[in-house]
Amino acid sequence: MISSLALSLLPLTVGLPLLAATVCAMTSARRWCVGTSVVFSLLQLITAIMLLLAIQDIDADEPLRYSLGGWGAPLGIDLVLNGLSTIMLLITAVLVVILSIYSIGYFADNAKAARFWPLWWLLVAGLNAAFVAGDAFNIYVALEMIGLGAVALIAIAGTRTALMSALRYALVGLLGSLCYLFGVALLYRVYGTLDLVQLAAATQAGPITWASLALVSVGLLLKTALLPLHFWLPPAHASAPPPVSAVLSALVVKASFYLLIRFWLEVLAPATTDFAMNLLGLLGAVAILWGCIAAFRTQRLKLLVAYSTVAQLGYLFLLFPLVAASDSSPNLSNMAVTAVVYFIIAHALAKAAMFLSAGDIQLFNGHDTIDKLQGVARAQPIAVLTFAIAGVSLIGLPPSGGFIAKWLLLNAAIDSGHWVWVIVMLAGGLLAAVYIGRVLNVAFSQTTAPTPTTTRPRTSMSCIGLSLALMAVLLGFNAEWILQLANGTGESSVPGMGALK
């Protein structure tokens, strides 16, 4: 009973945000946009929670499937829900509620609000569509919805830097999507289906499958910004309005990473090689170290937070060598996937909080040059506190979500005997402490208080950022719950667990 109820809720994950986008696009009255957004973000959260309850109840070996219009694969559009996608839907729903409330305050007396809301909901619809897509072509459509929405949201800031980085992001995004589409075209040519489950059953290693794996991966890596394809990320994430920066770093890059997991560990798993998996891990390790160093050297606060995203994304890619090292034991690869899921949630909360606090500091001071932020802790205690708490989670200090995530990842690396990754992770934590310490050091230095601009961020808005940072820390106290969630249902999305057969 509960699974049939959940099944009928599945299309709502995409339908609700699309409806909200339509309503917001049709009306330019701020009241309507705000009302619609509050109602729909709460409805979306309820849907995600119901789906979570339902998927725990049903057989984990059989993901939920919904055929739009009753057509079914291979011709129709199927939506598929498994443990991993449920977790992604839930964290998206939680962040969308909080960031929507923040955006109401941020765009309160701003003519740009009329343009913000439809694009915001288009982006959310794209994210949810990517998480529940059951076939390779709908993933392409979802990627384009995310790409177009994100580019337009960056451009809302309106400055020349924002427009330039939005344009560069758009070009990179189109390049990535077309690479992905070419890969999908080759897959359809060889296997005659776009359905992910059918593809997973049919895939065999071979030159054309390798070519399509390479094209799909390059496309998704461009969008996930793995070093050396990260060049577009720091300017784009740093020049967007704060709620947009938060959603870009917390969710948008994770969506393409989620798709990478699906293609590498599930759909095209027979075509992957240990060498390629280790290469991804190596690039991730370089990204961790390079991202931290770049974050330390940059002069601007929002750029620092953006470079920190490049570094944190590197940790996610350590999943692939850990899974490659554990092909004899499903326990180990399960552990690695659980760790990465935990990392995604912890980083999403902490990074969203950090971008909101950086946005507050920039709004208050009129600039975000780090060296000129002396004494900002006295003027803006809540924003600096938020930055510090989020920083604790990013560094991976106990007790915080970031600590548990890193601890799980370290355990997986030690159990598989990969000491290189252990050293990289520890070094990454130390380097993160250095760049976050640099900001706090300036913020607490005792000099004359900064002269604020006329625009003073509301305390209630600063508190929203603080609540996100506290959630990132609370995640560390309540690790058991999420671990069970990731273990109990997340495993169904890992190969060799019989989920797809």
């Binding site: 291979p74 011709l75 072509f137 392409y140 459509v141 384009e144 790409g147 177009l148 580019v151 337009a152 451009a155 020349r160 427009l163 330039m164 939005a166 344009l167 758009a170 070009l171 995004g173 189109l174 390049l175 999507s177 077309l178 589409l181 070419f182 075209a185 080759l186 359809y188 040519r189 776009l194």
Partner: protein, 98 residues
């Protein structure tokens, strides 16, 4: 068979030319045209896939149609951004070549 080969080879060649142009070209508009050429390459490979002897498979056609819509939207967005940047530069009397 020869026709199939011709379509595929042309598609792959166009995709390659597009990738080269998108990475190497310095001017935004050139990059944008290169990306569109890439897209046409993908569409040609898809069209060639649709042919199964006497029967035509409609799925690749649907993919190409969707792809064209997405390409138009993406191109329009990029052109609008380019125009906005140019207008900003004109107002600020910055470097008009950018």
């Amino acid at each position: 068979m020869t026709q199939d080969l011709l379509y595929n080879a042309t598609g792959i060649a166009l995709f390659g030319i597009g990738v080269f142009g998108a990475i190497v070209a310095a001017h935004i508009i050139r990059k944008l045209i290169a990306l569109n050429i890439m897209g046409i390459g993908v569409f040609m490979v898809l069209l060639a896939t649709a042919r199964h002897g006497e029967i035509t498979d409609p799925v690749p056609h649907a993919m190409v149609l969707t792809g064209i819509v997405v390409a138009v939207a993406g191109t329009a967005l990029c052109l609008w951004l380019t125009l906005r940047i140019r207008l900003l530069d004109d107002v600020n009397e910055g470097d008009p070549q950018r």
